[in-house]
Symmetry: C2
Subunit: 205 residues, 2 copies
């Protein structure tokens, strides 16, 4: 018999294997030895199903890094695990990026981040903005890295330094650059925030 979790994981496997546009209700049903209409006893629409999958992916994100009051460490752990969760299912990055699955779980995570930042000394408004900014970075990096083929920037890099680009290694090269770019962006951003916080502390002294 079908179950919500069975459908969900079959859909996830199908998308991971064959790509997002290969997921149709009929094909998914076929995968489960069932007719397409049967799926609608468990999910109201295909969008609902996708939202549920997005939610499952987001559940892997780790927001525990704020526990000891170190906001920088908290943000780093959060951002990296967020990115890793997206990288685990490249074909679903557009879906996850387009909307946070279940509101309730997304809210809980957002609240953990927000709370951690406030506990570490950030004003509430800044905490909100920092949470949003970090998400920008992670989602933007994921879309540019995982959700498409060659990156024009990497292409430029290759054209300018052809010695560095044995053609058969271009893909891993791109991955390496994407990784390094993300880490550079994250650390530069956090460095900058450090100075912002210092300036804020100076003001209110």
């Amino acid at each position: 018999m079908l179950s919500v979790t069975g459908i969900r994981s079959a859909a996830l496997a199908l998308v991971d294997r064959d790509g997002l546009e290969s997921l149709s209700m009929r094909r998914l049903a076929q995968e489960l030895d069932v007719q397409a209409a049967s799926l609608y006893s468990h999910y109201r629409t295909k969008e609902d199903l996708l939202a549920d999958i997005a939610n499952e992916i987001m559940a892997e994100v780790d927001v525990s890094g704020f526990a000891y009051g170190d906001w920088r460490h908290g943000l780093t752990v959060w951002a990296r695990s967020f990115r890793a969760a997206l990288a685990a299912h490249p074909n679903l990055v557009p879906v996850v990026a387009a909307g946070p699955g279940r509101r309730e779980a997304a809210l809980r995570r957002a609240d953990a981040v927000h709370g951690g930042l406030v506990a570490a000394g950030w004003p509430p408004r800044h905490a909100t903005m920092i949470g949003a900014s970090t998400k920008y970075l992670v989602v933007g990096a994921a879309i540019n890295s995982f959700a498409r083929g060659f990156d024009a920037d990497v292409q430029v890099y290759r054209d300018r330094y052809p010695n560095l680009s044995q053609a058969h290694r271009l893909a891993e090269h791109a991955a390496e650059i994407d990784d390094a770019s993300f880490e550079l962006a994250l650390s530069a951003f956090l460095d900058g925030l450090g100075h912002t916080l210092a300036a804020l502390d100076g003001e209110t002294r």
Copy 2:
């Protein structure tokens, strides 16, 4: 008679007005008093058409800010105009984010950024990563801000500070926070980069 530019601008108008999922070849044809099949004399596929539109949007992006050797100014101008270009067509953010229209034009822009950074003293590899990072920020911000409804972070903000949130103003509030978040992220990132560059200069002295 139909023309490539006529089709493109009608499609853009249609998507701006009715949303991305309202763009079908038949509806677009109707808008142009023509049958759907006729469009295929001018565009090979719908994807081609979308790529062309994405390209048109990206053409508005300003990479001239690097002219005077000030990389920080160059990046700021680029990032802001990039974001503005996406904000001008919210319904198309997913399309533009998913791939840079025509390779050729995207390459030229990427090259301008890369060249500007190198001219300002950044090592080529860093220039590539900074270009990528900045794009991450812009695209991530655009997806989170324009391409969807309510943001969970803003929701948290509202729940915690209910006095600040007359419900009827929530949308503009979200826009304001998105704006501020983007500017915060950009300036913190650039600040951090400033220190990175100083450290690099120290090394190679």
